[in-house]
């Protein structure tokens, strides 16, 4: 069976192009479907996408989403660089990426069509907002001919609908201005989509009621638009042309679920870490894309023992977090690359002061201001090496939206155990992408313990109690102002190993430098050995991933393993220090492949720390990996003979 979805009345065949390496996987039918919504920044595509996602979640379907939007609030209407898109992959689990190539596209204007076409599967369903195909818009999008007429869409199934006009008609009774009325068209289109996927309108209707509670007219118009789109699909004469899909429900493990974006999960994780450590949390940040959502979520977590402070800049933000940590509250700061760069000097202060601190970096496209709304993993160098002096810190990364929760807890745990700043890497993709999430039971998570304070002994100099480090973790006790008899002074000057007093002494500096290195190395003793995600611990090729590439690598290796079981996949949580058994694990493979959304930064770390020389597969385009690119790359590394003998199907198409 080569189709991926069902239509009650008509079967839509959505399969890969015959040239695609995806063909390999055709033998096992995928029960997922990729939907892409695209329009102008002002078309409300992101809202439409997230509402469709919610309805997907509530229908027991696994999913992954990928919002992709321009850096401007409202980029110029009708241009290709102003296109805002929301891609969604839904189906039976495990869904781990938003999908390589859409099966369904809703294009609100010519520019959206133009930008999306190269991504589509052959035979994809394309729903076009007819009204927007004016000659002005066609020119803006860079079309010289109308693509609806010139054969460009021949290999797709095209449904033309006058969405704008139909929507305006529907909301006319509410007396909105034309521009306000036309803002409802995302809900009109959503209604249509909901019909196609047989979704319950109620949750979205409730959301609209809540959201526009204070603007009754807008509320009612949006509700009307939603229902009108739905009704149109069901009743209009065109309905014959509108396919209906039934997506297989997901076989997710039993439990309570919710949808979650990476930013939400990370915020919840920080709050949970506070609860697990029985400490309050102060989150200090300065807005920046794509890190700001953390601040926005946490600003609503006051009752969870979390405070937020919007500082005047990134330096003030990290410094306030350091001040909070000095004060006995878990200090967290957050930014993306350019803002993290500004925090560099202060990270060194936290290292020297041996204070706990978590620095969250939601990476985006660089260098400099770069591509603020695009995703990238190019701040790993900065995380591992990017400070003056010999100033190592632990670095960890989250792999998926839901995993951000656990990564946040782990970061706080390390920071408190070793009394050190910890860098937690997320990225623009993870921040905004959503997936269904089995709600974790916090009772099953190990509490975070605080290093013991030694008994106060009047005869003992306070400072030496303050710096009496645990021999295993090299973490010192966390003593804050307010504690009687343990007054001490922290600072950025080199300090005496025992007393913490300023010391310019040569031997002491060496000893402290060694201690700081040993402290970060000590983290390794507390983390689980690196395990293999897919495949066995020995074989031909090991693919090592980190961060948000988890999704596409997982899918790619799953596919590849059907024909090549000698390919395995491991994914790193800990980037500094690396797990102790990693070198050994790598040794079990003939080749190691590191796919990264940067120019090979993890490869550098592996060469540096383990002395291995992996194959780098780099992509720096602001877009996540496609499964197909990864499959293709791995195929080039496999011996052709082996491939041929293992996989007659693939052979036919290689």
């Amino acid at each position: 069976m080569s189709c991926t979805c069902f239509r009650t009345d008509k079967l839509i065949s959505v399969g890969p192009h015959p040239d695609s390496p995806l063909l390999m996987s055709e033998r096992n039918p995928k029960s997922s479907i990729v939907v892409r919504l695209a329009g102008d920044s002002g078309d409300g595509v992101q809202v439409m996408g997230s509402q469709f996602t919610t309805s997907t979640a509530l229908s027991d379907t696994d999913f992954a989403t990928f919002p992709d939007f321009p850096a401007e609030i409202r980029a110029p209407v009708g241009t290709t660089f102003g296109v805002s898109a929301y891609q969604l992959n839904i189906g039976a689990n495990p869904i781990t990426t938003a999908g390589d190539s859409p099966d369904v596209l809703v294009a609100f204007n010519p520019a959206a069509l133009k930008v999306s076409l190269p991504l589509l599967k052959d035979g994809a369903l394309v729903i076009v907002n007819n009204d927007s195909f004016t000659s002005r818009n066609l020119i803006k999008a860079g079309y010289s001919d109308d693509p609806r007429d010139n054969g460009e869409l021949d290999s797709y199934q095209v449904v033309n609908i006058d969405i704008a006009r139909l929507n305006l008609e529907a909301v006319k009774p509410f007396g909105l201005s034309k521009s306000d009325g036309s803002r409802c068209k995302n809900f009109w289109a959503l209604g249509l989509l909901m019909w196609m996927f047989d979704r319950d309108l109620a949750p979205t209707e409730n959301w609209i009621r809540r959201k526009f509670a204070k603007k009754e007219v807008v509320r009612d118009a949006n509700l009307k638009a939603l229902r009108a789109g739905h009704a149109y699909a069901e009743t209009a004469e065109l309905s014959e042309a509108i396919p209906r899909y039934q997506v297989e429900t997901a076989a997710l493990p039993a439990g309570d679920y919710r949808g979650v974006t990476g930013a939400e999960a990370l915020s919840l994780g920080l709050a949970a870490a506070g609860e697990l450590a029985d400490k309050s949390v102060l989150f200090c940040s300065y807005p920046i894309t794509p890190a700001s959502p953390l601040l926005h979520h946490l600003a609503r977590f006051g009752d969870l023992g979390v405070g937020t402070f919007q500082a005047e800049d990134e330096i003030a933000a990290i410094c306030a977090a350091i001040g909070a940590s000095f004060g006995g509250v878990i200090g967290i700061t957050s930014s993306s690359g350019p803002g993290i760069a500004l925090k560099t000097e202060a990270i060194g202060l936290a290292v020297n002061a041996e204070l706990p601190l978590v620095i969250v970096n939601s990476q985006r496209g660089g260098p400099s201001t770069g591509l603020p709304t695009k995703t990238e993993q190019s701040d790993l160098y900065q995380a591992v090496y990017g400070r003056n002096g010999d100033t190592p810190i632990p670095v960890i990364a989250a792999r998926s939206p839901g995993d951000c929760f656990f990564a946040a807890i782990e970061a706080v745990r390390i920071a408190l155990r070793h009394m050190t700043p910890v860098m937690l890497l997320s990225d623009g993709y993870l921040s905004n992408a959503a997936e269904p999430w089995k709600i974790p039971d916090i009772k099953n998570i190990e509490p975070i313990s605080i290093n013991a304070t030694f008994e106060t002994d009047a005869a003992q100099h306070a400072q030496s109690l303050v710096f009496r480090r645990d021999p295993d973790t090299l973490g010192r006790p966390w003593i804050s102002p307010g504690t009687p008899d343990l007054m001490h002074v922290l600072g950025g000057l080199e300090k005496d190993y025992d007393t913490g007093a300023i010391s310019y002494e040569a031997d002491n500096h060496q000893r402290m430098t060694d201690m700081r290195a040993a402290k970060v190395a000590a983290v390794e003793r507390f983390i689980p050995p690196q395990s293999v995600e897919l495949g066995s611990a020995q074989g031909d090729i090991l693919i090592i991933g980190w961060g948000s590439t988890y999704g596409p690598i997982f899918q790619a290796v799953k596919q590849i393993r059907q024909s090549n079981p000698s390919v395995s996949f491991t994914h790193l949580r800990h980037l500094n220090p690396l797990p102790g058994n990693l070198a050994e694990l790598l040794g079990g493979f003939r080749q190691v492949l590191v796919p990264e959304m940067n120019m090979g930064q993890l490869s550098t770390v592996l060469r540096d720390k383990l002395g291995v020389d992996p194959v780098s597969f780099c992509k720096v385009s602001g877009q996540p990996f496609l499964i197909s690119e990864l499959v293709e790359k791995v195929m080039t590394m496999l011996p052709v003979v082996a491939l041929a003998s293992n996989d007659p199907v693939a052979k036919g198409h290689t």
């Binding site: 979640a57 509530l58 027991d60 949750p203 997901a250 493990p253 439990g255 309570d256 679920y257 919710r258 949808g259 979650v260 939400e264 919840l268 709050a271 949970a272 609860e275 309050s280 200090c284 977590f301 006051g302 969870l304 023992g305 405070g307 500082a311 005047e312 800049d313 330096i315 003030a316 933000a317 410094c319 306030a320 977090a321 350091i322 001040g323 909070a324 000095f326 004060g327 006995g328 509250v329 200090g331 060194g348 089995k438 709600i439 039971d441 916090i442 804050s480 102002p481 307010g482 504690t483 009687p484 343990l486 007054m487 001490h488 002074v489 922290l490 600072g491 950025g492 000057l493 300023i502």
Partner: protein, 328 residues
């Protein structure tokens, strides 16, 4: 109850590392005295500083301390104060640390009115880095980085602070134990940002730059000691006074005996006069120039919360979000 602490109790055993004769010694001495006098507690007092000679201060006071990085002390102190609003948080900074690299943080601490006691040791020079001119140096200051004399316009800490929305501004001279002591007591008692400029003599790189008014022999004629509600008088016999000239919008020195009713009374809540006072050069205004209490940042911050920084709901609850579904 524990016995009252003395100035000596606030002094650490640390060897003080300032140049002999540096004005910082006098400030340290007066401050430890004031801490004892106002009954400060060691464990609930914290000194936060940046980098500079002045910023070494925390090492010499036997309380909690944090010698942070250059210019960032107000930001660190803000985090500390939010984490524990019960603390007395003092910030010690210099004209370089506070007004050059740290200008932005000082600006925003003042704007927000964070409950910090900020002492700016103004020696009009970068002491620790060997004497380059600073943003408060007078035009013409010869220094290693301005060998032919600097020509940048200096910033007036008081004018800057008022522009930033300060609710408290005071001034004192390092070696003036009485005047400085009084100001420090006012600082200690103030909620919100208590910002004080202390004229501090750097005997190595900018010796006697304040001598024209700070020297005891010039004190009577060159120092205007402000007291809220009292007339602005100075001179050996308090025979000179300050008047506001409503035509020129300026302060003027007048013969106080000749025109006693023309002498302005000091109203520390008057921002207009405060703006003029901080720019007076002969005499120089000392004491609490401006004080107009307003709710501190941390007060507002905590007022907007139900139970301080305490948890009142379990994360387990929050984890469920708004749209939850069951898979079975």
């Amino acid at each position: 109850m524990a016995a009252a602490l003395s100035a000596k109790d606030f002094t650490t055993a640390q060897e003080v590392r300032w140049c002999p004769g540096c004005g910082d010694y006098a400030i340290l001495k007066t401050l430890t005295g004031v801490l004892a006098e106002v009954g400060a507690k060691k464990e609930t007092t914290a000194f936060v500083s940046g980098i500079g000679c002045s910023s070494r201060f925390p090492f010499y006071v036997d309380t909690y301390g944090f010698h942070t990085i250059h210019g960032r002390a107000p930001a660190v102190a803000t985090g500390l104060k939010l984490a524990n609003p019960e603390l007395d948080v003092w910030v010690v900074t210099g004209d370089g640390d506070g007004l050059s690299i740290g200008g932005n943080h000082l600006l925003h601490a003042l704007r927000r009115n964070v409950g910090l006691k900020i002492l700016l040791f103004n020696n009009e020079i970068y002491g620790l880095t060997k004497g380059q001119y600073s943003p408060t140096s007078r035009p013409g200051t010869r220094s290693p980085s301005s060998p032919a004399g600097s020509f940048e316009k200096p910033l007036s800490p008081g004018t800057f602070a008022l522009g930033a929305g300060a609710t408290f501004f005071a001034r004192a001279i390092d070696t003036d134990k009485a005047g400085l002591g009084e100001v420090l007591k006012a600082v200690h008692a103030f909620d919100g940002t208590a910002f004080t400029e202390i004229f501090q003599n750097c005997i190595v790189y900018n010796e006697d730059v304040f001598a024209d008014f700070a020297d005891r022999k010039n004190a009577a004629d060159m120092q205007l000691r402000l007291q809220h509600g009292e007339p602005m008088l100075f001179g050996a016999n308090k025979d000179k006074g300050i008047r506001f000239n409503a035509d020129t919008f300026a302060l003027e020195v007048i013969d106080a005996e000749a025109e006693p009713d023309q002498v302005l009374n000091h109203d520390e809540t008057n921002k207009v006069v405060a703006g003029l006072l901080v720019e007076l050069t002969a005499p120089v205004a000392l004491g609490v120039v401006y004080r107009r209490p307003d709710e501190s940042f941390e007060k507002s911050w905590y007022a907007a919360r139900k139970n301080g920084l305490q948890r009142t709901r379990s994360v387990a609850d929050a984890l469920r979000g708004t749209n939850t579904w069951k898979v079975s």
